[in-house]
Amino acid sequence: MSIMVVLTTGGTVKKIVVVSGALKWAAIAFIVIMPILEAGYWITNGYPFLAPFLHISSLPAFGDIPIGWADLTEVQKLLGFIANLLPLFFSMAALGYLARLFSAYEHLRLFERKNADLLKKTGGLIVLGQVAHLFYTACISLVLTCRNPVGHRNISISIGLHELEMLAIGIVVLLVSWIYAEAIKMHEEQEATV
């Protein structure tokens, strides 16, 4: 069956292999680069040398409480990095599942139930990541303001437009994974039709 597919749609199959392979390696590269960039952000005080070229948002703000890099101790920066590992973990895990999915596509395993499971897990992680973001904001606000004078210390729980957008994307991915699982069942039935 797979040999027939290769013969009849060779061009499309080659595209699937090439594009999936590229996306798999892109996902793996992001998994490796993301924690390094995050660590660099805290080590270099927010990449000040890149400021003229890129708009990198500075430290998170909490109400009117002023927070600057100069006010932070090394321990606070380390704790800030650790707090940032929480949302990073969800992104890296989701990318890990995507890399496995693209690896399956690269090897032309297009209609396997495992693929639908991987997509479902990716969507689930995106949704859970946004829920965990609430906990992250509490942690990072505590870390960044814990040495402030009384009255300027803060534990903040917030959710922004970006998180709501990601939540919507996560829900859409979950929906797509459900439809994909149903399509795989239909494909399996089709294969067992004589």
Binding site: E188, E189, A192, T193, V194
Partner: protein, 72 residues
């Protein structure tokens, strides 16, 4: 499987080899094997028609219903 395909019995009655039968009804031997081993989830009317024509039988001679759990 609650639907039993009695293809082996019918082929034995007609003393027909699987390979020849597959050629006669224009399906692959692999698909014939799926049908004979009860792994098929669906049977096309065109295939059933070809089987009945070649074996000179009725669909009821080929298929039987057996009480049991529904396949997943």
């Amino acid at each position: 499987m609650t639907i039993i395909v009695n293809l082996d019995v019918m082929l034995a009655k007609k003393k027909m080899r699987s390979k020849d039968f597959a050629e006669a009804i224009v399906i692959t031997e692999q698909n014939l094997s799926i049908l004979k081993t009860g792994k098929a989830k669906a049977l096309r009317f065109s295939t059933l028609q070809a089987i009945c024509r070649v074996l000179e039988c009725q669909p009821g001679d080929l298929l039987a219903f057996e009480q049991g759990e529904m396949p997943s």
